[in-house]
Amino acid sequence: MNAPDRSLAKAKSPRVDHVLIAEMVEAGARVLDVGCGDGELLQLLAERRGVDGRGVELQRDKVNQAVARGLSVIQGDADRDLDNYPDQAFDYAILSLTIQATRQPKTVLENLLRIGRRAIVSFPNFGHWRVRTGLLIGGRMPVTDNLPDLWYLTPNAHLCTIRDFADLCERVDATVERAVAFNDHDRRLPIKWSLSMQNLFGEKAVFLLHGPKRSKT
């Protein structure tokens, strides 16, 4: 009887990055959520934007939960299973707080830009001041609310900063349509702040991108 309470609480206050993604996505769009977990974002997108959503999730128990709640989710791996999807099969390919846990972030991002007309990527920012001071002062790998695991337990193999990610976007010829960073109180940072300031105070960031093949709309 404990589990439903928790999910109800979740349903009342969706994650801020999910809310932002729901704003970015056009109503009725076709969406692929890579690393969809138990389908929280897909559910939100279905409820708020009426999307036709699909998900990919590595962890078996989360896939089971998502399918049992009626979502179209497959057990799969962002590193291995994106190759099968045809070009531009979706309006949006979303990678929500997952890119840092992939083995080949660049390949995954390229696949995302190929599969989706647009890609939405969110990730924890390793350039946040708490992370910087943790390493600088404490001399240890930082453990924060956003990065809660000890270094030997974390699934995160490829952490990056906002600046790093912007560089990767440039490298794969992706155009950044919108980028929003959240501070550690889940508030959006002012859009006119410089990249350096976003990188220092942003705890996580959400990028809306499109790939090189697509002509600008």
Binding site: R60, V67, G70, I74, G76, Y85
Partner: protein, 400 residues
């Protein structure tokens, strides 16, 4: 005549009566509508024996077809007329069960080539007045599905809400979804494959050779004699049964335990529990199954390859599909392992189909799909509920 002999004769008579006049409903298709088979022969007349559960709604939109595996039959949720055992998927199908007969109209038919009332090698060949035996044409999974489609026509149903099945039943599910794209709203292929592997064919060949090596098989013409290839079919079943389990499951169930004895007997008696178990599986199987049916159905499975005629591209089998799929595999299934299911999923992704895929953690092997696996059942229930909502069948508990 010994008591054992008369038991066997009684068992044969019991089986023959289910072939000639099954306990279930039956649809007859006469010579005016032959079934055109993959081997280019026409089969007519032919019959499809079936069971139904629940009520077909006015819009005829709540029908679920359940496709059975190699040795199962139409008695999915009904006591078996020969063995007296509960339906083979009683745990999945029934009022309030994941495939809820209070909501859905469930159909399950005996496959073509079977021995529980649908036309098969033990049925009478109208040309000779005697059972077909091995004059029965070699059939395919596609032929089984065509025969089922005739039954669905006969029941006046245009589109099935769902087609569900495990193992060979799963092959029929993907064949249905490929062959009749607009007649399948949702498809649930479980513990299955899009083509039979070399290893799958190899195991079946062992079974068939065991049957045919039994002198009582008599080139398949045993029906008129007082002999049945019991030993051969029992060995086939024993070998096959091992492939349905996993090493862990066998170990957990039997280990190296001895059967009703404290010491090894230094003989070839069934000293070990696992031997005794397999012998029982073999001998109880021959009481309810026809040896020739076993040959024909295993052959149909071996011939199964959904890529055939499509330039070996599986995705082409599903191109243009609007069906919602839920593919399920089990971690310890080494007969149709997860990678076979994943191939189906990848093909469906390649055509941007609506697909869910779950791999269920279980140590029970291939047979897990028939057993108490709560996560699996929750998955099927959730998937069907969501699909029913999309299909305008309302939510669970709301009626259809």
């Amino acid at each position: 005549m010994t008591a054992a002999q008369s038991d066997i004769i009684a068992s044969v008579a019991r089986r023959q009566s289910e072939i000639d006049a099954p306990s279930s409903q039956i649809a007859h298709f006469d010579v005016s509508a032959p079934l055109h088979l993959a081997c280019q022969q026409d089969l007519a007349p032919f019959s499809v024996a079936y069971q139904t559960y629940g009520t077909l709604n006015a819009a005829k939109s709540n029908a679920i077809l359940i496709c059975h595996a190699l040795t199962a039959d139409q008695y999915v949720a009904t006591q078996h007329p020969i063995t007296g055992k509960p339906g083979w998927w009683d745990i999945m199908v029934g009022p309030g069960k994941p495939i809820d007969t209070e909501r859905f109209f469930v159909i399950c038919s005996n496959v073509l080539g079977g021995c529980m009332g649908s036309t098969g090698p033990a049925s009478i060949n109208p040309k000779t007045g005697a059972p077909y035996g091995i004059d029965f044409p070699v059939i395919t999974i596609g032929d089984m599905v065509e025969a089922q489609a005739r039954l669905i026509d006969y029941l006046g149903i245009d589109q099935l809400f769902a087609v569900v099945g495990g193992s060979m039943g799963g092959m029929q599910v993907v064949e249905w979804a490929s062959r009749f794209k607009d007649r399948v709203f949702a498809a649930v292929p479980i513990a299955t494959t899009a083509w039979h592997s070399s290893q799958n064919i190899a195991f079946h060949e062992v079974g068939r050779q065991a049957v045919m090596a039994d002198p009582n098989w008599q080139s398949g013409n045993y029906y008129a004699t007082d002999k049945v290839p019991r030993n051969g079919l029992a060995v086939a079943r024993m070998a096959a049964h091992i492939t349905y389990l996993s090493e862990e499951a066998l170990h957990r169930k039997f280990g190296r335990s001895l059967q009703d004895r404290s010491e090894k007997t230094f003989s070839f008696n069934a000293d070990f529990q696992v031997e005794s178990y397999l012998r029982h599986q073999g001998s109880s199987f021959v009481d309810r199954f026809d040896a020739n049916s076993y040959l024909y159905i295993t052959r149909a499975m071996d011939y199964f390859d959904l890529r055939e005629g499509r330039g070996s591209v599986l995705a082409d089998a599903f191109r243009g599909t609007q069906t919602r799929f839920c593919v399920v595999s089990f971690t310890s299934d080494w007969l149709y392992p997860t990678r076979e299911s994943r191939r189906i999923v990848q093909a469906l992704n390649a055509v941007a189909a609506n697909v869910s895929f779950v791999e269920i953690e279980s140590d029970k092997g291939h047979d897990a799909f028939l057993l108490d696996e709560p996560t699996f059942h929750a998955t099927v229930r959730g998937f069907l509920n969501a699909a029913a909502l999309k299909h305008g069948l309302g939510t669970a508990g709301n009626g259809a």
